[in-house]
Amino acid sequence: MPHKDVMHGSRAVAEAVKLCGVEVVAAYPITPQTHIVEDIAEMVANGELKAEYIMVESEHSAMSACIGASATGARVFTATASQGLALMHEVLWIASGMRLPIVMVNANRALSAPINIWNDQSDSIAERDSGWIQIYVETNQEALDSVIQAYRIAEDREVLLPVMVCMDGFVLTHTVEPVEVPDEEQVKRYLPELHLPHVLDPEQPVTMGSLGDPNYYMEFRKQQELAMENALRVAMQADEEFKEIFGRGYGLIEEYNLENAEIVLVTMGSLAGTIKETLDALGDDGVGLLRIRLFRPFPKEAVRRALSRAKVVNVIEKDVSIGFGEGALMTELKSVLYGSGIKVLGTVAGLGGRDITIAHIREAIERAKRALHGESVEEIAWAGLKEEAL
């Protein structure tokens, strides 16, 4: 029977890893992810989870060990954050290039320098082109559910790509919320055993990740792109079936109060919770929220459909592309909405764990309203920036 409990986001992830019967975990501790792999280590030590737990000397090694283990056909897991993810950068491309269905949780945290252990999403956004599927979750429940869905998507033969489940560091990892932990039998029903079609097997030796010269490299990259396209469909199916079995579904995007909204805030991750609170208090059906849950592959069509009635969009995001003056999500939204006539504004917020308050959200809505009424407004604002400190 599924049971309800209150737990940290990190615990919710560990529970999901246990339910998925993960066979190999290789990890290196880093705040704010450490609780995840500590909890898993405990589960392995006390026999709750029969997995090989590999302690490594760095995140680069953690991902390398995951790649090796995954290539033998095992179900593998790791978790990281910030500098750890950055250190993995090189091997992330190897994991996706070798088409290994590794699942990793990234506890979103700002990058150094200066050292900052708090939450923003620059770390995983910087890896958006690494060939990993990226899911951004809003709640601890969604973190648990998304890890289970992630294996289902990653291991699908039409996909075979690694998945990064991104959850806001501290905001989710260290926050206690009620979480329903599914029943093991339910998860077994949802998640079939993994049979990797390309696998290291001494009986049928293969060479993996070898040379791809200019004659074939482009075809090989295109195959990855096609797999990503498949992942859109597979992720949708995985979510629908999840809903049938577990009673909860999230979609690739979440549409909140969008039916009549001419103004739409767009965001990813836990910030959606704050925005929903603000919208509920506002009680204005002209303002809605679009939460992007699946960032890679990007659900372009679904986003266009969801915004078909919108006039002004304000993208509130916890990352900025330095030198381009705006966040990556804003840039992508403009690209997806090109030619639609929808005005796209951007709000850079919450970098390095700066609080994003209801007042900031209201400001973002106000700016969008002014734009809607034809006033000229700043295209990009930094929420709560201390101008005097610059």
Partner: protein, 87 residues
């Protein structure tokens, strides 16, 4: 040819089909008159591009030889000369 998933190579020795001798600048030329059959070139060639024929003569496989000159350098009897590739 279809590219396998993850560029996996599923049959042994398939690299032989991919001729890689094209970027050579110098070509080793063996003078079998001077050769003392010591086998050093055969051992040292990093690309297994030197073969010993049944009659005891040594030959270079130019489909794979990179022209590194190691064989010429190792030959104790100066039986290998590196000659500039000219079309």
């Amino acid at each position: 040819m279809k590219v396998n998933i993850a560029a996996c190579i599923t049959e042994p020795g398939s690299s032989e089909r991919n001729k890689t001798g094209g970027w050579r600048v110098f070509r080793p030329v063996i003078n079998n008159e001077r050769c003392i059959d010591c086998g050093s070139c055969w051992i040292f060639c990093p690309d297994a591009s030197i073969t010993r024929e049944e009659n005891g003569e040594y030959k270079v496989n130019l489909d794979f030889c990179k022209g590194c000159g190691i064989c010429a350098n190792e030959c104790p009897s100066e039986a290998i000369e590196m000659v500039l590739e000219e079309k």
